[in-house]
Amino acid sequence: MAVMLARRLGSAAAAAFLSALAVFLLMRAVPGDIVGQMLGQSGTDRSAEAALRAFFGLDRPMHAQFLDWLGRTLTGDLGRSWYQGRAVTAMIAEAFGVTLQLALFTLAVSTLIGVPLGMLAGIREGTRLDTAIQTFNLLGLSAPVFWVGLMLLVGASAFLGWSPPFIYRDFADDPGENLAIMLLPVISLAILQAAAYSQFVRGLMVTELRREHIRTAIAKGLTPREIYFKHALRNVLIPLTTFMGLILVQILGGVVVIESLFSLPGLGRLILSGLQGRDYPVVQGALLFVVLIAIGINLLVDLLYAVIDPRLRP
């Protein structure tokens, strides 16, 4: 267990380093930088340009810039936004609150809808209900999140005369407003993930119910309820844990699109606006943060696995 944990942590650290490098290089691969943005097309004042470059440290060799950034990142200092002058860590913390709420709500809603749907389809394999659920899965999986969000936004205002509030409010500030703001974004993201869950769980259930230990459970005189929700579900839960981690990572990806559609001040918007201004510290910091979260989720899933699956215990 300790060895496994050490190995997992080691590979997580390696992944984190590679991601940091990738984030850094990617940022610089985007054409143009902050200096170009500031001076615009108009001025071609060489000396001003050079001075500005030196001011932002962009004149130094790449590796020096990277090592400098990495070193300070390791101490927890992500620098300051070139535009706002605020600490990047503070900006991330603020934006992450929004993204986290959106992601967790989406995870909860999609799990609560997708898992039971998948179980039901698997249990009722081959019936009309199964076909109906599979049709939903197919539609949910093929509809782009952005499009779903747009349709919901348009549909709500056209048919219900309702639009989500404009100004973002924290849950702590104003729970009602906050939930009204979150409603459509969560639904747009959750439809896709619920469909993914449902499809996955259905497949697991269908396979599981054909296993020999299920025949034993029937031969013991157990009720269908005990067979489905105890014997089968407990086995399905193991791969489902990994899948849940995957879904959460996917949600974090989808959040970027949805945040900009619904103008939510989350990480996605932070990254996008940072990208537009070539605000390197912000984009690098926020991207690295997202990657670290994803690595953390995977690590957590691995650990959870060891708890859930008795075969992984010594």
């Binding site: 081959g126 054909r210 230990h213 034993t216 031969a219 014997h231 008795p310």
Partner: protein, 334 residues
């Protein structure tokens, strides 16, 4: 037999598959009296497992099955036909009045529950025991099937036990509610040779101590002589011979039984070395289900075949009061 515990009569079981209809069991009749051990033998694919599964209606999901005939079972409250009993009543019989031990204990146990939980569950279901009582009873059952330190084993997961121990646990689970009938479908095939004899002995002990009826499915004719009162020989979905085990083994009345006996494994004892076990097989293969010709199903492989054997289906005929054979030349088999 009027006082039989289990009486299967003219059982037919067909699977409807994409490739067509597979008539896996084709008119099987057999019975088990209370406290009696009946061995069912026959080559792979002869329909032994399907017959056993029909008794408890344990067909797989996705199998499209049609059954015909009757499976009469004597409950304390009177006889019922298991093929037509409603599911609720069936559930009280499964695990409570009829239990089954399968071939592969590793696959038959749920990998994510402890042995204790899996045994306790059946006690809670049929004997209405509480959690603690059921676990205590499970420990005593584990002791009964010869598992050392049962209290500790309650908390073990299947993967932490050896194959033999897993099968013992399966047996503990099966006898937990004192069933009137125990079905064992090749319970030792998946186990180490050295363990096989122990498991068979255990089953026999328990059967005698509790007076259960035992339907024992096996490939091993040697075993039949050791444990069975009667034997039923199956071939291509039908019974071809039946009678008292000792008599059938000593003087078979069907060429198929004769051939099975001839290809029993023989052990060559080597001086100070490993014994070698030789298994010969009956030449040829059994017909695929549904691919039977008009006459005797064994004709293609029979050493005594005559032209007349291929003319019409051969009925199962009584030779004495307690012997049956499906051969025209039964009297000549030696």
């Amino acid at each position: 037999m009027a006082d039989a515990l289990l009486a299967i009569e003219d059982l037919r079981v067909a699977f409807h598959t994409a490739q067509g209809v597979v008539q896996a069991v084709d008119g099987v009749s057999l019975s088990v009296a209370p406290g009696e051990t009946v061995a069912v033998v026959g080559e792979s694919g002869s329909g032994k497992s399907v017959t056993a599964l029909s008794v408890l209606r344990l067909f797989g999901r996705g199998d499209r099955v049609t059954t015909d005939g009757t499976v009469r079972f004597a409950r304390a409250t009177g006889a019922v036909d298991l093929l037509h009993l409603d599911e609720t009543a069936m559930r009280t019989i499964r695990g409570g009045e009829i239990a089954i031990v399968f071939q592969d204990p590793s696959a038959s146990l749920n990998p994510v529950f402890t042995i204790g939980e899996q045994i306790a569950e059946v006690l809670r279901r049929h004997r209405g025991l509480g959690r603690a009582e059921a676990l205590a009873e499970a420990a005593s059952l584990l002791g009964r099937v010869g598992i050392a330190d049962p209290q500790a084993r309650l908390k073990a997961y299947p993967h932490q036990l050896s194959g033999g121990m897993r099968q013992r646990a399966m047996i503990a689970m099966a006898i937990a509610c004192d069933p009137r009938l125990l079905i064992a479908d090749e319970p030792t095939t998946a186990l180490d040779v050295t363990i096989q004899a122990q498991i068979v002995r255990l089953l026999k002990d328990i059967q005698q101590a509790r007076g259960m009826g035992l339907m024992f499915i096996t490939h091993d004719l040697e075993l039949v002589g050791e444990i069975a009162d009667r034997v039923v020989v199956m071939y291509a979905g039908q019974v071809v011979e039946a009678g008292p085990a000792a008599v059938v083994l000593a003087a078979p009345r069907h060429p198929y039984t004769r051939a099975l006996l001839a290809c029993r494994p023989t052990r060559d004892y080597a001086e100070g070395g490993a014994d070698t076990i030789r298994i010969s097989a009956i030449p040829g293969a059994p017909p695929r289900p549904g691919a039977n010709g008009a006459g005797c199903r064994f004709a293609a492989r029979c050493v005594m075949v005559e032209p007349a054997c291929r003319d019409a289906a051969i009925p199962l005929r009584a030779l004495d009061t307690d012997r049956l054979s499906r051969c025209r030349r039964a009297a000549e088999v030696a």
